[in-house]
Structures are given as structure tokens and as C-alpha cells.
């Protein structure tokens, strides 16, 4: 049992609970659910200590388990929102069931006057010094439909490969880009509204 010697479950909570909790809250936007997942992660890890090979750190190993649990939550949240094909008309496939503003003129795709981006003076903002922008963005992220939020956060926070996200969330590539597009349109509009 030499492998298990590297794992110290009696230290897990004091060493990693805050880290894992932060990781989960950032991806779920729900503190209670994040707390439950951290607990589940520790217990799941105990069940498979023999799978720990000591190649990664304890924290990395626990984070990988948590990450799978986060994706499971995304899947549960998205069940019932199954989108279907339609590569030739990407703007119409499945995601059109979500409530949202229509930003463009139906006939020629031009910006509708009311939704056209306006200069906010924060185009070159440094995210690390701009806390206000960060908190606005966080609020705007929470307003996205569940499926868009999960796609957006998997792509941006984890820089996951597109194929992996499509596979995990059962999306076609065309659906994936439509969601990335719509999520950004909505986020940008939400920020503009809050900022002006």
C-alpha cells in the first residue's frame, strides 16, 4: 500500500477545502451546491485512493475528481435543453428556445439600433485592477441560461478543447459556436447596461 502513503485524507479539509470550494463556486455560481460537491469529492476520493498514482499532486488529483462532478452538474442542469443539428442555419438550432433579445435585424443581420455596442471606455481594461468590471461580469454570467453558462465557463475558465466540451455536453460543433456567440452577445449587452 505504498501509494496510499502519499495521500493524507486527514489533512484534506484543512489543506484543500477552500481551494476546491472556490473552484466549484466559480464554475457553478451556487455556494450550497459547491459545498456539497466538495464534500462529495472528498468521499469519492476516499473510495478510489488506489487510483492515485502519485504522478500529480494531491490537490491536482482532487481537483480532477471535482471537475468531473461539476460537469455532471452541468449535464443535469442541461437535461431537457437538448439542441439538435441545423448547421446551415446555426442561429435557429435548438438554442432558439432560450429567452433572449434579438440583437440583429431579421432580414439583413444588421445591428438593431438599440442593441448596437457603444464605446464604454473600458475596452483596454486590465482585469486585475478592475474589480468593478469583474463583479458586473460575474452577475451577468449568472443570468445566462444554464447550458450557455456551462459551455462558456468550460471554454474560458478551463480552456477545455471544443471536442471535449461537445462530447461531454452532447453538442454538435455548430451548436457549440452558436452558444459561444450568443453567450458573448448577451454578456456584452448586460455589461453595457450595467456600466452606462
Amino acid at each position: 500500500m505504498a501509494k496510499i502513503a502519499v495521500l493524507e485524507p486527514r489533512q484534506w479539509v484543512s489543506l484543500y477545502a477552500d481551494y476546491l470550494y472556490s473552484y466549484a463556486v466559480a464554475r457553478l455560481g451556487d455556494e450550497e451546491q459547491a459545498r456539497d460537491l466538495v464534500q462529495e469529492t472528498f468521499l469519492a476520493a476516499l473510495e478510489r485512493t488506489e487510483q492515485f498514482r502519485g504522478e500529480s499532486s494531491e490537490r491536482t488529483w482532487l481537483t480532477a475528481i471535482l471537475k468531473h462532478k461539476v460537469i455532471d452538474v452541468y449535464r443535469r442542469r442541461n437535461s431537457g435543453l437538448r439542441a439538435t443539428g441545423g448547421a446551415d442555419r446555426p442561429e435557429m438550432d435548438g438554442t432558439d428556445r432560450e429567452p433572449e433579445q434579438e440583437f440583429f435585424e431579421a432580414d439583413n443581420g444588421h445591428w438593431k439600433e438599440a442593441y448596437a455596442p457603444r464605446a464604454l471606455g473600458i475596452e483596454d481594461a486590465d482585469p486585475l485592477t478592475n474589480k468593478e468590471l469583474g463583479s458586473i461580469l460575474q452577475r451577468c454570467l449568472q443570468k445566462l441560461p444554464a447550458l450557455w453558462f456551462s459551455v462558456f465557463s468550460m471554454k474560458h475558465m478551463d480552456e477545455a478543447a471544443t471536442e471535449m466540451i461537445c462530447d461531454q455536453l452532447k453538442l454538435t460543433p455548430s451548436n457549440f459556436w452558436v452558444i459561444i456567440h450568443r453567450a458573448k452577445l448577451n454578456l456584452r449587452a448586460c455589461i453595457q447596461k450595467a456600466w452606462v
Binding site: P9, R10, W12, V13, S14, A17, D18, Y19, Y21, S22, Y23, V25, A26, R35, V38, Q39, F42, L43, L46, P90, E91, F103, F104, N108, G109, H110, W111, A116, P117, R118, A119, L120, I122, E123, D124, A125, D126, P127, L128, N130, L133, G134, L137, Q138, K155, H156, M157, T162, W177, V178, I180, H181, K184, L185, L187, R188, I191
Partner: protein
Amino acid sequence: MGAIKKIQYNCREATYLIEKRQHVRLSIKERIHLLIHLSGCSVCRLFQQQSRMINRVVKGMFKETAGEERRLDEDVKREMQDKINERLTR
């Protein structure tokens, strides 16, 4: 409406390509469409700037998270460790 005019008007397509381009290499046709559109559309150029800014902020938020910004309640932690210990001694 001519083909070029259609591209020049189509901000929906242009913003879609702007998003896609931030993650993958566009096809030649897509690149030409976007180039033609952006050369004449200052609103979509602004959209592109703001879109990139949002991506930077999102990345920044993630780094902040890695800095263990949030703390779990001590009671919750004790409960978690108790559950772990309970399984260990089972």
C-alpha cells in the same frame, strides 16, 4: 442586394466569426467575409474589442479564484473532516 453588400450589412455573421476566431482558425472564405465586414463596420470593430476585453476579464476572474479567495465556514469544514475520518476508521 449584391454579395458584398450582404456581407457588409451582416453584423450577425461578423460577430459570430469574431467569436469563432478567438478559438479556432477560420476558413479562407470566413476570413475574407470578416475582413470585408470589419473594414467598413466600426460597430463590429468595437464589438471585437469589447469581446476580447471580456475574455481577459474572465481569465482574470479565474486566476483570482485560484488564489483561494473564498473560505468555507469552519463548522462546515469540521463536519467534512468528521465524515472523512468516519470512513477512514470504518
